[in-house]
Assembly symmetry: C2
Homo-oligomer: 322 residues x 2
């Protein structure tokens, strides 16, 4: 609507298992427009790229003018910053190694930068959210899995091959729950949205304690049911959050020893449980904290709106590339 | 002896609980000369500074000429890069917060840079040792305690307050052995030179199995006795190394998830046990490794001579400061 011929913009895109959302962001972090496609409707990658680019080009024409778009940043599960490829992403329809950055780049004639979704979220938080002004923090995304984006000295930690920051697979309970990665006791088997539901099922089966949760068929339970029950002061639901926060807080106390962040920032579905997850996490984090750091590391929630975070985070990548 | 009026040099100093060693290093990493003082003989910090500087100034006069010395780098327990202070170091004679960098700087009129001993070791290894050419690695020092220096993208990780990289205090056995830090189950209670001796005492008391180790009074056991017995194929000694390496390897598999290093480099007293410690560590590391990283992270020993490592590591700091 408002075609500004002077202000450069970038596009930010988040490729999720269900939806691919994308938008155009100006230099002040305003999302000028947004759109989406259903990821699973495009099992053929070329058709997916075509569908996204068609919508993207329309948006550019309508909102910013073609010469003002300076780049595209993409966040995706298993997205590799170094190679520009999505590698073996279990929840996406394209198998193997997909050179998505170069494919988009060829199609739209722009520089395209890829990283994984949690790293993009960390960049977004540093630029527009709770980590503004911070140079050292750890973003932990509590979604279907647990991801992380680690910022050290103002920069994302990519590591030797681009896959640094897999804190969801830190083994927090040796010999514990089976994880999708083939190992046991990973953080995400306890502290993801699916992990907390596993805890709920275990606790429901292990006792006969009355609980609002028993009104839902056990196989249909979701983390939202747990939140709803906790809000109504359901004892078992509160205990489930307490256990989950304890596991998370203990893990965070160990993470802090690595990079001594100014803050830990929680993001994603489970973070929406607010104080039900924050309080036990904070308590366990402090109880297990190395003395030198006690009381000094902030535990915060993301300040970005869910609908914006993914687009904003990915857009930061595009600015950085310039 | 050989005063080169063209080649700039720096001094590197390592402040240990027993000895303070220092030397002058040229731009090629040659240690031109070295000297030391007994740290514990100087409970008054000003007298310590005077004693060190007197020797240092003599060395400069004799070996490099005063205008060629460009800076002093210091590695010390609890040395803080940001503040230039040694803060609450348990094994040094000076209590509280000691502004050692500025004190040395005033005395010798040079830029002085401080960091902790493990971080200095990592810098030395990156410049002159096993990590030459690497941009992402983790140095683990297995001495009286366990320390670490983490290099990400070619830079030391200092964190928000300079105290990042305290991997010796990662809790690897919740509810485990009491640590000097006041918590339980820290890595260094198992994998330091003192930790392995604790394991030895526990195992000796828990069984009546014959062992060469029983010839040494249990309170006098050292990690060197363990090595000597392992060399003679003593079953219990081998089991002690196996247990220690297993704890270390499990911990390393978690560390890798953070920064995805190209290599883990082991340094310090316990690293001298060679394959007795390397093999079980490697086995446990691989057994617990996240699939994406399996077989891809090198486990190496430091390539720097013990007597050189501390001086060289600290000297790199001094070059960096320029």
């Amino acid at each position: 609507m408002n075609i500004n011929t002077e202000n450069p913009c970038v596009a930010g895109m988040d490729i999720g298992g269900t939806n691919t959302v994308f938008g155009i962001v100006d230099a002040q972090g305003n999302i000028l427009c947004r759109d989406s496609v259903k990821t699973q409707e495009y099992p053929v990658i070329e058709e997916y790229i075509d569908a996204v680019c068609e919508k993207l080009i329309c948006m550019v024409r309508e909102h910013v003018g073609p010469n003002n778009l300076k780049g595209l940043g993409i966040g995706a599960p298993n997205g590799n910053y170094y190679s520009g490829c999505i590698e073996q992403a279990a929840n996406l329809p394209w198998k193997g190694v997909v050179p998505i950055a170069s494919m988009f780049s060829e199609k739209i004639g722009l520089r395209v930068v890829l990283t994984n979704d949690a790293k993009a979220a960390a960049l977004g938080e540093m630029t527009y959210g709770a980590a503004r002004g911070m140079k050292d923090f750890i973003m932990i995304t509590l979604g279907t899995g647990v991801g992380s984006g680690i910022i050290v000295n103002g920069q994302l930690v990519y590591g030797y091959d681009g896959f640094a920051g897999e804190l969801g697979h830190v083994m927090v309970r040796p010999g514990g729950r089976r994880c999708g990665c083939g190992r046991n006791g990973c953080l995400e088997t306890y502290c993801s949205a699916t992990g907390i539901v596993r805890t709920a099922r275990e606790m429901l089966l292990a006792s006969t304690e009355p609980s609002l949760l028993r009104r839902v068929p056990i196989e249909d339970l979701t983390s939202i049911d747990l939140y709803d029950a906790a809000v109504k002061d359901d004892k078992l639901a509160l205990e489930i959050f307490r256990f989950t926060g304890t596991v998370l807080g203990e893990a965070i106390a160990n993470f802090v020893l690595f990079s001594r962040p100014e803050a830990i920032i929680l993001f994603g579905g489970l973070a929406k449980a607010g104080h039900f997850i924050l309080e036990p996490t904070q308590a366990a984090m402090e109880a297990n904290m190395y003395n030198v750091f006690k009381g000094k590391v902030k535990l915060l929630f993301s300040e970005l709106k869910d609908a914006d975070a993914a687009i904003l985070g990915a857009s930061v990548l595009a600015w950085e590339a310039k």
